[in-house]
C-alpha cells in the first residue's frame, strides 16, 4: 500500500512540478469549447442545446491528448523498468498511474465544466448533473485511456494510433454523459444515465488495470 501511495504521490508531484502539463490540458479544454460559439454563432438557444455535447467532446479530446504522458516519459528514461521491478504488482502500478492521471487532468475538467457550462449558456437546472456526470465519466476515460497508453508505450509516434485505439472505447461514456446532462436540462430524471455511467466506471475500474498491466508486461520484456 505504501508503494502504491508513493507512486501516486510521485506522479502527481511530477505532473505539478513539470508545470505546463496540467495547465495545458485545462487551457486546451477551455480553448476547444470557446471555438464553438465563434464557429456556430453566439445564439444562446443554439449554444444551450449543444452545450453538453461540446463540453463532453472537448473533455474527451483533452483526456486523449494527455494520455501519452502517462507512461511515455517513464518508459524513455527507464524509470518504468525500475517501477516494474518494485514489489508493487503491475496491476496496481497501472491503477496508481491512472489515478494520478485523473487527479492531474480529469479532476480539473470536472472543476472547469460548470464554468464552461455558463459560457455555453447551459440551462441552470443541468449544472449539478453536469458535475456528477463528469465526476463519474472522467475517471472512466482515464482508465480506458490507460489501456491504450500502455499498449502503445513502446511504439514510436504512437499518438495517432493511440487515438484510433481509445476513441471507440470512449464513445459509450460520451453517449451517456451527454444523455444525462440533456435529460436534466429538459426536466427529466438523469438517474438512469448516471447509473450507467457509474456501471461503466466500476466495470472499467476492475478490468482496465488488468489489461493495462498485461500491456505493460509485454512492452517491458
Amino acid at each position: 500500500m505504501s508503494e502504491f501511495l508513493a507512486l501516486l504521490r510521485r506522479d502527481v508531484l511530477l505532473a505539478r512540478r513539470q508545470g505546463g502539463a496540467t495547465t495545458s490540458v485545462a487551457v486546451f479544454f477551455i480553448l476547444t469549447v470557446t471555438l464553438f460559439p465563434l464557429g456556430v454563432g453566439p445564439e444562446s438557444a443554439l449554444l444551450g442545446r449543444i452545450a453538453s455535447g461540446v463540453i463532453w467532446v472537448a473533455a474527451l479530446l483533452a483526456t486523449m491528448l494527455s494520455l501519452d504522458r502517462m507512461y511515455q516519459s517513464d518508459f524513455e528514461d527507464g524509470s518504468l523498468d525500475l517501477i516494474a521491478l518494485s514489489p508493487l504488482p503491475l496491476e496496481l502500478v497501472s491503477l496508481a498511474k491512472t489515478l494520478a492521471h485523473w487527479a492531474t487532468t480529469g479532476l480539473l475538467l470536472v472543476v472547469l465544466s460548470p464554468l464552461l457550462g455558463v459560457l455555453m449558456q447551459l440551462d441552470a437546472s443541468a449544472f449539478p448533473t453536469l458535475i456528477a456526470a463528469m465526476a463519474l465519466g472522467t475517471p472512466t476515460l482515464s482508465l480506458l485511456g490507460g489501456i491504450g497508453a500502455a499498449l502503445t508505450v513502446g511504439v514510436k509516434r504512437g499518438g495517432v494510433l493511440l487515438s484510433l485505439l481509445v476513441i471507440p472505447l470512449f464513445i459509450p461514456v460520451l453517449i451517456f454523459g451527454v444523455a444525462a446532462v440533456d435529460a436534466a436540462a429538459s426536466g427529466l430524471s438523469p438517474r438512469p444515465h448516471l447509473l450507467i455511467l457509474g456501471a461503466l466506471f466500476l466495470f472499467s475500474a476492475v478490468l482496465a488495470p488488468l489489461a493495462g498491466a498485461a500491456a505493460l508486461r509485454l512492452n517491458l520484456e
Binding site: 499498449l151 484510433l164 476513441i167 464513445i171 459509450p172 489489461a211 498485461a214 509485454l218
Partner: protein
C-alpha cells in the same frame, strides 16, 4: 488442441479442405442468390428492395461473428500461446472489417428507399460503425510493432477489450427504441420473418460463412509462408555475416 499447433500440419489439412469449402461457397451463393433474387416474393411494404437483406443481414452477422472469432482466438493465443491462434486472429481482422463495411454500405442503400435517409445516428448503426473503428485500430496496432510476437500480444489484449462492444451491438435494438428494426430471427418465441424469406437468407448465411473460411485459410497460409520466408532470410543473413567474419 496442440495436435493442430504445427503450422505444416495446418497447411496440409486446410489445403485438403480448401477445394471443398470453395465449392460449397460457390454452390451456396448460387442457390442463395437464385432463391433470393428470383424465387422469394417481394415484401408487401418494401417491394423488391427487401432483397438487399440477403446480402446485408449475413454480412452484418459475420461482421460481429468475425470479431467474436478474433476475440476467442486472441484469448487462446494469450492463455495457451497457441502459435496459430495469433495468425488466425490477425488474418481474420481485414475480412471482418470488409464484412462490416459491406453491412454499412448495403444498410445505407437499403435505408435510402425504406427510411428515406442514407444514415441515421441510431444505436445499431452507430455501434456497427464503432466496430469498424475497432477493426481498424486492431489492424493499426499490428502494423505499429516491428516484432511480430509483441504485436500479436498487444493486438490480442486490444481485441479482448474491444469485445465489450459485441453485446452492445447485439442488444442495441432492444435497449434503445430506434429506427433499426428489432431482432426478428434469433429471438425468444421464434423468428417473426416469413419462411419464404428465411430460407434464402439461411442459404446466404451458409455461403458467407464458407466464404469467410476460404479467405481465412488463404490468408493464414499466406501469413505462415511470409513468416517462413522471413525466418529463412534471417538465417541467411546470419550465415552470411558468419562467413564474412571467417574470411
Amino acid at each position: 488442441m496442440h495436435r493442430f499447433a504445427n503450422p505444416a500440419r495446418f497447411v496440409r489439412i486446410s489445403s485438403a479442405l480448401l477445394p471443398w469449402l470453395t465449392g460449397a461457397t460457390a454452390i451456396l451463393f448460387g442457390i442463395g442468390l437464385y432463391l433470393g433474387l428470383f424465387v422469394s416474393p417481394p415484401d408487401y411494404q418494401q417491394g423488391d428492395s427487401v432483397r438487399i437483406m440477403y446480402v446485408h443481414v449475413p454480412a452484418a452477422t459475420l461482421a460481429s461473428g468475425v470479431y467474436a472469432f478474433m476475440a476467442i482466438a486472441s484469448a487462446v493465443a494469450l492463455i495457451w500461446r497457441h502459435p496459430l491462434a495469433d495468425i488466425a486472429a490477425k488474418s481474420a481482422a481485414p475480412i471482418g472489417a470488409v464484412f462490416t463495411l459491406i453491412a454499412l454500405i448495403t444498410g445505407a442503400l437499403w435505408g435510402q428507399p425504406t427510411w428515406g435517409t442514407w444514415w441515421v445516428w441510431d444505436a445499431r448503426l452507430t455501434s456497427v460503425l464503432i466496430m469498424l473503428f475497432l477493426y481498424l485500430g486492431y489492424m493499426g496496432l499490428w502494423e505499429a510493432f516491428d516484432d511480430d510476437r509483441r504485436a500479436a500480444k498487444a493486438a490480442a489484449i486490444l481485441a479482448l477489450v474491444g469485445a465489450v462492444n459485441l453485446p452492445i451491438i447485439k442488444f442495441s435494438v432492444d435497449w434503445w427504441n430506434t429506427l433499426h428494426q428489432p431482432a426478428s430471427i434469433i429471438r425468444v418465441g421464434g423468428p417473426t420473418i416469413h419462411p419464404d424469406l428465411l430460407s434464402p437468407l439461411a442459404v446466404m448465411w451458409g455461403g458467407f460463412a464458407c466464404f469467410f473460411a476460404v479467405v481465412l485459410i488463404l490468408r493464414m497460409q499466406r501469413e505462415i509462408v511470409a513468416r517462413r520466408i522471413q525466418a529463412l532470410q534471417t538465417l541467411y543473413v546470419a550465415a552470411d555475416g558468419h562467413a564474412a567474419a571467417e574470411t
